[in-house]
Amino acid sequence: MAELWASVPAHVILGIVAGLPVILWDWRIALPGLLFVQIGISGLVGAVYGLSAPWPAVHLVVLFIAFLILLLSILQTSNVHVHQSGEFSSRLFRLLVLGIAALLVWNASEGIELPLLSDASKMLFLWLAAVALLTLGMTETALFGGVGLLLWLIPVQAFLSVLFPLPAVIVMLGILQLLVALACSYLILAEDDVLTSYEVPSTDPELAPGIQRRQSIAAGAQVLWYGCAYWFFSLVGRRQKTVVRNG
């Protein structure tokens, strides 16, 4: 298995899949492409670089949730910029830019050191970062902003997990990926004037004011009560620990 993931063809396939969304500029290609790249990178860091058992799977699950979050917003929006993939000439232009980026990465990779990685993996990670930057540079929408950021974070998460196999680092980067997906998902909806003109957020008190207000106060009081009880319980426990450690 390790041989398969370490092979150059596997690296090339991952690189091509990562570059496809830039050329085709379509969410139907971009989101599955992200998932495919994450599967490949998880396999690579797990099988070749020995990242211990739950973490490659955690990376995959985090990206799958991010994929679902983005998908939910895409399915709701009527924004034409999300649903169209661009003219042939613009695709040709992006292909040209991608080609120039590939040459630059090829040239620059010798001078860049990514510790613990083989040459092929180093090239793949640099290529993924370059494609992410290109996507971020060319996008005018939150959707492809999200795709670019997630594509940037996939190699970052994998590489840093190899360098620092610490739960704190992996969890923080995972939280960042999920929040990026949530924020971009929110921005996809915010970009849609039509949707936001008739959709009222369920937390808005202007929606059925009387009922909403009573429900809001009752639910809020419940949350406050449970929250305070838990907070006090953990605070007392922490205070005892603190006293012992300070002592």
Binding site: E113, L114, P115, L136, E140, A142, G145, L149, W152, L153, V156, F159, L160, L163, F164, L166, A168, V169, M172, L173, I175, L176, L179, V180, L182, A183, C184, Y186, L187, I188, A190, E191, D192, D193, T196, S197, P201, T203, D204, P205, R213, S216, I217, G220, A221, V223, L224, G227, W231, L235, R238, R239, K241, T242, V243, R245, N246
Partner: protein, 472 residues
């Protein structure tokens, strides 16, 4: 008598404020006033307590605070030290002021709880003294997380334009891998002390990471875009909180790794990008007709000057950086307070709707103009003393830099002169309401602070010296 470690108290207080501002969101004005008042009170008390005080009893409550005790969670240690105390106070003051201003100009239902949550996160970063990796290296990931959450208050349900919010989160996310890779190099140094490539590589990566985090041109675009599309107080708080922590991190990194300047060309990178930033801020401000965008460009110009001084990296430039940044906070909050009230009264910041509002909303207009002009160093505003000393210092090194700063500042001032023409022209919209009494109080306070700092700038000397001591 219950005894709490200070970090526990601060996090509990902020959590209670988050919950109260969400649950009682229908009474936004009252809740924001109370929450803002409490935060400002805590900040002032924390600042005024002598540095050797260990315990503090809260009046009328059987609670004692252990000011120097730390708390440990999941390998992270949070503790108030002399080093991070000024940052905690600045964040608390910014949050408190933001909440108070929300009482006169609502920034959206989601703003108070989400901004308090984000503020709690920034305080957490400042208080972090120990972590699985050195806190200096782990801070950018935390800042990236907080900036991503900031998307919600700065977008505030506004439809259409979303790129500003997206671009605001780019610098910390892009900086994260560089700084963490630098951490790995630094951690390997004791194992391979002979390997000079490790030290040089680590310093290079840290330098690039810090530069990206400070977001000069070409990573600057969030500031003017947010100025145009976001609620003014949300925009000002998001940018100022981020920049406070970015500067803190920069000072910590340069103090902990002095080789940063020897092994890299960080000074050159900073000087060149900062010069472009301040010039671009000035040129674009001269052409901007939207007051929010104009404020964004004025902030960008001021930020460029701060970065230019930061590149000096000597003993003289650091006090100037801290002083300019303190005056920047004052000017920006004053401008945001005025602009938020103008937006509240007219419903939009489009120039055609602001025609002649200066006659109807004089105090808010004055607070906005005086605050914004302070960012360009206009005489008789808060920023004047800071800009003047900065220009003098730059002229001593190379007069051409001073000339560039003067010309760029002149451009920003030209932009505001055009804005004065719009504000004090013929009133187009007769339905614009007059200012509310509370709004007038806040605007007058802002004007007094801004002009007071221009007349008696030495009032800031004490706090700035104490802040500087904490960075050394």
């Amino acid at each position: 008598m219950i005894q709490f470690a200070l970090p526990s108290f601060l996090f509990s207080l902020l959590l209670l404020e988050v919950l109260s501002s969400y649950i009682f969101r229908r009474w936004e004005r009252g809740v924001s006033l109370i929450n803002g008042g409490i935060l400002n009170l805590v900040a002032v008390l924390l600042w005024r307590l002598p540095s050797d005080t260990l315990l503090f009893s809260i009046p009328f409550v059987p609670v004692t605070l252990d000011l120097r005790a730390g708390i440990w969670e999941y390998g992270f240690r949070f503790q108030l030290t002399q080093n991070n105390e000024p940052i905690v106070v600045i964040v608390l003051l910014l949050l408190g002021t933001g909440m108070l201003l929300t009482a006169v100009a609502s920034q959206g239902v989601v703003f108070p709880p989400s901004m308090l949550l984000i503020g709690a996160g920034y305080i957490g970063i400042a208080l972090m003294v120990d972590a699985p990796i050195s806190p200096v290296f782990l801070a950018p990931v935390s800042i990236a997380i907080l900036m991503t959450v900031s998307v919600f208050p700065i977008q505030a349900g506004i439809t259409g334009e979303a790129l500003g919010s997206l671009r605001a989160i780019l610098p910390p996310i892009l900086a994260t891998p560089f700084i963490l890779l630098a951490a790995w190099n630094m951690e390997q140094l004791p194992l391979n002390p002979q390997d000079i490539r490790l030290a040089a590589g680590g310093a290079q990566l840290l330098g690039v990471g810090l530069l990206v985090l400070l977001a000069p041109v070409p990573l600057h675009s969030a500031q003017p875009q947010l100025g145009e599309s976001s609620p003014p107080i949300a925009m000002a708080l998001t940018i100022l909180l981020y920049q406070t922590l970015a500067l803190f991190l920069y000072f910590q990194a340069t103090s902990s790794f002095p080789m940063l300047f020897g092994s890299t060309a960080l000074n050159v990178w900073l000087t060149s990008t900062a010069a472009i930033t301040l010039v671009w801020g000035g040129v674009a401000a001269a052409a901007a007709s939207h007051p929010g965008r104009l404020l964004g460009y004025a902030m960008l110009h001021d930020w460029g000057l701060i970065l230019l001084l930061l590149a000096g990296s000597d003993d003289r430039s650091r006090p100037m950086v801290v002083s300019l940044f303190a005056l920047r906070i004052l000017s920006t909050m004053s401008a945001a307070a005025g602009l938020a009230q103008l937006r509240q009264a007219t419903g939009s910041l489009e120039p055609d709707r602001l025609q002649g509002v200066g006659a109807r909303l004089p105090w808010s207009t004055a607070a906005f103009l005086l605050g914004s002009l302070g960012l360009a160093g206009f005489p008789l505003t808060a920023g004047f003393s800071g800009h003047w000393s900065a220009i003098q210092a730059l002229a001593e090194g190379d007069w051409r830099f001073a000339a560039v700063v003067l010309i760029a500042s002149g451009s920003v001032i030209f932009g505001f002169v055009r804005m004065v023409g719009i504000f004090f022209g013929r009133l187009e919209n007769a339905h614009v309401p007059r200012e509310r009494p509370l709004g007038v109080v806040f605007s007058v306070l802002a004007i007094l602070l801004v002009t007071g700092m221009a007349i008696v700038p030495q009032l800031f000397e004490g706090p700035i010296s104490r802040t500087l001591l904490s960075f050394d």
